[in-house]
Amino acid sequence: MDAAIKNSAIKSLPPGQLALLHDAYAATLRAKRWRFLFGALALVVCGALAATAAEIDLSKFFANIGRFPNYLKQLIPALSLATLPADLAEWFWGWKVWGKQLFETLLIAYLGTVVGAIGGFLLCFHASANVAQTRIGRVAARRVLEFCRTVPEIVFALIFVIAFGLGPMPGVLALAIHTVGTLGKQFAEAVENIDLAPVEGLTAAGATWVETMRFAAFPQVAPNFASYALMRFEMNVRGAAIMGFVGAGGIGQELLTAVRKFYYSDISAMLIMIIATVMLIDMATERLRHSLISGERQA
């Protein structure tokens, strides 16, 4: 190294200082490497612990992994070009029933989102730090929202199925409660970021709290609210598709039966319908959200 520096045309630092710099650099690098090694080691130890807890048996995995491609292969029925329409008709033989249930799934997601958004809307102003009326109300609203979003929706669905009976109704209620929790939190965060000047203006003019929220806070956050609600609708469509697993309506029930009874082509037909619907909804809501956001920018 020294020779290279001496011979180079670039003016070098005095040797002592250079050595000092070099040592400092090496020390920093060494510390970084140690930190990395330590992190990697911690990760491996955690992974090993997790593997023991989750009863990972790699020999079983490798013995059975051949069944996964087999399973996937069986999912796709025999299609030949000559008889393609007939084959497709046979594959999607139940499309009327499945389509109806998919429609029900969409309605569950829609209703769950609307009810949940209304609940989240009512709670969010109480939960945000800048406009909440009382401290106790704020803490209470936050705890309620936290509870609603931490308990998985399918657990609510399990309980509601027992309380309300089988059918789409418990599914809607379960999704709605979960949506209250998630949307309420996002709404509250949006409200916390508003400009407080209009709020002060209205308060000074003698408006009540409700009027202040309606005319000062709401106009600032309305596009955000709509965008969050649309995003939540997307997720709820996915959530509603599995509500049937516990008997809470939608296409999940049929899918569960098909999987349990190894009706391979039915599984793939339903999955294709679900995936296509989810993708379509995703695309449509993304469009809507973009137009909302650009509309806000123009205004």
Binding site: A51, A54, I56, I108, F147, L158, I162, M169, F245, L271
Partner: protein
């Protein structure tokens, strides 16, 4: 002469500024019609899904009774507690391992889906649709499929979480790679580095912290998913939870829900600490 109040001549103001005052009306009409449409759709949904107030009222009554029975939470015998704690450990194991494996598998493939690394349009399109398809299938459905392959138990759960997260990570990672700054890459290339060098020294240092924080975030949310994956028989505490709900053991149900809430809160806290340590106070 005293100045006249601008509102004294209200009709005059209306006359002169008609356009300005009417401007908001079309917007308002549009908003109103959207709201009406949504309400009508909600009405149709209520009718199609056979909602009835009698059922809701009866159900609420039963729900109130359940809530009363849930207090105080109890776990029964000491042996049951050990079983539940073991199931909880299993849940955490499923979430951790599933997330980790998904991240490790998705990481190299994400580069194939990133516009600034992969130039082949077809390759990019294929990897993206691949990720989308995997993502379109819910974790619980993946769990059902994996159960058919490796049998009932937590292993199927870990594989299910791995699979569904693989799709999500592929998308997130490739987006992180795409939004990375190109200048370090150009610098490495200008200094004579090849493509692997450009990725290792130009892209990786930028995206690793972001990716690490996303993985942590997913670990949090997977802790939640792993608690329910047992409902279909893929291990973890969900199995016990659904069993206790079905046999109407309400005190145990509330105990298990509390256990889950506390665990999730703890994991959230740890992971948010780790996240701030990795990327600082910056938002994701």
């Amino acid at each position: 002469m005293t100045m006249q109040s601008p509102f004294g001549d209200l009709d005059g103001v209306r006359q002169r500024h008609r356009d300005a005052l009417l401007a908001g009306n079309s917007d308002r009409l549009r908003e109103l019609s959207i709201a009406c449409g949504m309400l009508v759709l909600a009405g149709i949904a209520l009718w199609q899904l056979e909602f009835s107030f009698v059922r809701i009222w009866d159900g609420l009554g039963r729900l109130g009774e359940f809530a009363r029975l849930m207090l105080p939470p109890a776990y029964g015998a000491e042996a049951r507690l050990m079983i539940y704690l073991k199931a909880l450990a299993e849940t955490l194991g499923i979430a951790f391992l599933g997330t980790l494996c998904a991240a490790v598998l998705a990481f190299p493939l994400a580069f194939l889906a990133a516009r600034n690394v992969t130039t082949s349009r077809i390759m990019r399109f294929c990897t993206r649709r691949f990720f989308d398809t995997i993502r379109g299938v819910d974790t619980l459905i993946w769990a059902l499929i994996w159960i058919n392959v490796v049998g009932l138990g937590p292993f199927a759960g870990a594989l299910a979480i791995m699979t569904s997260d693989f799709g999500a990570f592929g998308k997130l990672f490739s987006e992180a790679i795409e939004t990375s700054d190109q200048r370090p890459v150009e610098g490495v290339v200008a200094a004579g580095g090849g493509a692997p060098h450009a990725v290792r020294f130009g892209v990786l240092p930028q995206v690793l912290p972001l990716i690490a924080s996303q993985v942590l975030y997913y670990f949090e949310s997977n802790t939640r998913s792993a608690t329910i994956i047992g409902i279909v028989g893929a291990g973890g505490i969900g199995l016990h939870l659904s069993e206790q709900i079905r046999t109407l053991e309400w005190p145990t149900v509330s105990f298990l829900i509390l256990l889950i809430l506390v665990t999730v809160a703890l994991i959230d806290w740890i992971s948010s600490r780790l996240r701030t340590a990795i990327i600082g106070k910056r938002a994701l």
